[in-house]
Amino acid sequence: MLRIDNLSASYGEAQVLREASLEVAPGEVVTLVGRNGAGKSTLLRCVMGLHPDQRGTVSLDGRDLTRLPAYRRARLGLGWVPDDRGAYATLTVTENLTLPPRVGPDPWSLERVYEAFPALYTRRDSPATKLSGGEQQMLALARVLRMGARMLLCDEPTEGLSPLLVQQVGDLLREAKRHGVTVLLVEQNLHFATGVADRHYLLAEGRVVEAMDNSEVRSRERELLAYLGI
């Protein structure tokens, strides 16, 4: 479904991605792991078309996205959960949720969102940046579900969430997957990653250096953790 070929990107002089390539099949949940600063967030931004300085191709369902502006990409069914959570200070929680247009066949209703995240319901009329860190994270996830995106790009969605909520997010992603949603997940938490994902890519120094499946990740856990940590 999503295909990235030889993607390179830089910030000014510093090259962050170096000809990274990967592929995500429809209905798959794939994680991207890598240590801090490896370029994971940058890769997601490239897919969304938000990084000005990039080379290589990104295609969705065989369609080349390279020249499409970000809003057109979103309309094709891409949903992005940014690493800073992307809450709007000037919009209430409800407005944050209703802002994006629907882009896919199965958008969540507002009721369903509030059912899944009662915390958001209680805070529905506050400016979104007034939410606690974790609440903002829920909001970011809820928002792309409400868009009905076919493909989610989630940047560390469990960061700062309580253990209970981390489980919930796992459930949500699994449920989304059951409904045929494709997910590219950036994650530090390997437990969580192996719990929801089918496959994993390891990103190092801007290159995709390895592709692994769940069992491989589990068996090499110690090694990987050590690697990711440094």
């Binding site: 969304m48 970000a70 809003y71 979103a74 940014p82 000037t90 802002l99 247009p101 868009m147």
Partner: protein, 293 residues
């Protein structure tokens, strides 16, 4: 008593201009985070435009009231595309400076063409007389201005709170990149809103033409008072800006009459009120509190 009521009414009429201008400022600010220094200049263009339409094309007041806001709105949109837009990602101060520069240009352009003499613009015939308001009579035109301005303020407020427009533009202004990533074509929304705010200034200008001195500098000092008004009301708040606009109109009218013996006070009343508000509520009467900082 009648005197008091008359002055009160008069204050409201003057407040109507503050309110309309503050409203336009607030719309633009609320949506684009741009404090439009050129707002006074657009107000002036509205009035000058009405004059030019009348003298050179024979277009009467009523048509000017429609045409000028549309023209100025279009001009505003062009300026947004050409300049404001480019600075959107930078500190809002840059747009403040940009519009300050535009003010100098617009004023001088009009000056070079029409001089600085005040130009007369007749009150439209239909509104020429005065109406009996029970205890006193008042020029019909001023009554019209008050009613019209209130209607506009209420209408705009309704539009912004009950429609999707307000929401989208606020989002697009705050985080354009993110908003684009949600499938919204930001440029399509922001530009018309800027134009709309400018159109409001132009509308105020046309309304002012029959009762104020029409000249290239008519907006210059007015805009500073309007800034004080929005600081008092809370710049982010549409309601606050409008309310403070009418309120300051009243305070000034009363001040001139009842503080006549202390001219320094009556002249600086707006600023004194502003200082008091800043001390007591730094975010303005209806502004939201700032986050912990």
């Amino acid at each position: 008593m009648t005197g008091f009521l008359q002055h009160t009414f008069d204050g409201l009429v003057n407040g109507a201009f503050y309110a309309l201008l503050a409203l336009g400022l607030a719309v633009i600010f609320g949506m684009l985070r741009v404090v439009n220094f050129a707002h006074g200049a657009f107000y002036m263009l509205g009035a000058m435009g009405a004059y030019v339409l009348l003298t050179e094309f024979g277009v009467p007041f009523w048509w000017a009231l429609v045409i000028m806001p549309v023209l100025l709105g279009a001009l505003g949109m062009a300026l947004e595309r050409a300049f404001v837009h480019r600075l959107a990602q930078l500190d809002p101060l840059y747009n403040f400076l940009l519009t300050f520069g535009l003010t100098l240009i617009l004023q001088d352009l009009v000056k070079s063409r029409y001089g600085v003499q005040s130009i007369p613009y007749a009150t439209p015939g239909e509104l020429g007389g005065s109406v009996d308001l029970g205890l006193f009579d008042f020029p019909t035109y001023r009554v019209f201005v008050l009613v019209f301005a209130v209607a506009i303020c209420v209408g705009v407020w309704w539009l912004l709170t009950h429609s999707r427009v307000g929401m989208v533009v606020r989002a697009a202004t705050e985080r354009p990149e993110l908003t684009r990533a949600f499938g919204i074509n930001v440029g399509r929304w922001v530009t018309p809103v800027f134009g709309f705010g400018i159109a409001l200034a132009g509308l105020a200008g046309v309304l002012a033409a029959p009762m104020r001195a029409v000249n290239p500098l008519m907006g210059a000092d007015l805009i500073i008072v309007v800034f004080a008004v929005v600081v008092i009301g809370g710049l982010g708040s549409i309601f606050g800006s409008v309310a403070a606009g009418f309120g300051i109109g009243l305070v000034q009218a009363w001040g001139v009459v009842y503080l006549a013996d202390w001219p320094i006070l009556s002249q600086t009343l707006v600023f004194i009120v502003m200082a008091a508000v800043l001390m007591w509520r730094p975010a303005g009467l209806f502004g939201r509190e700032e986050a912990p900082a």
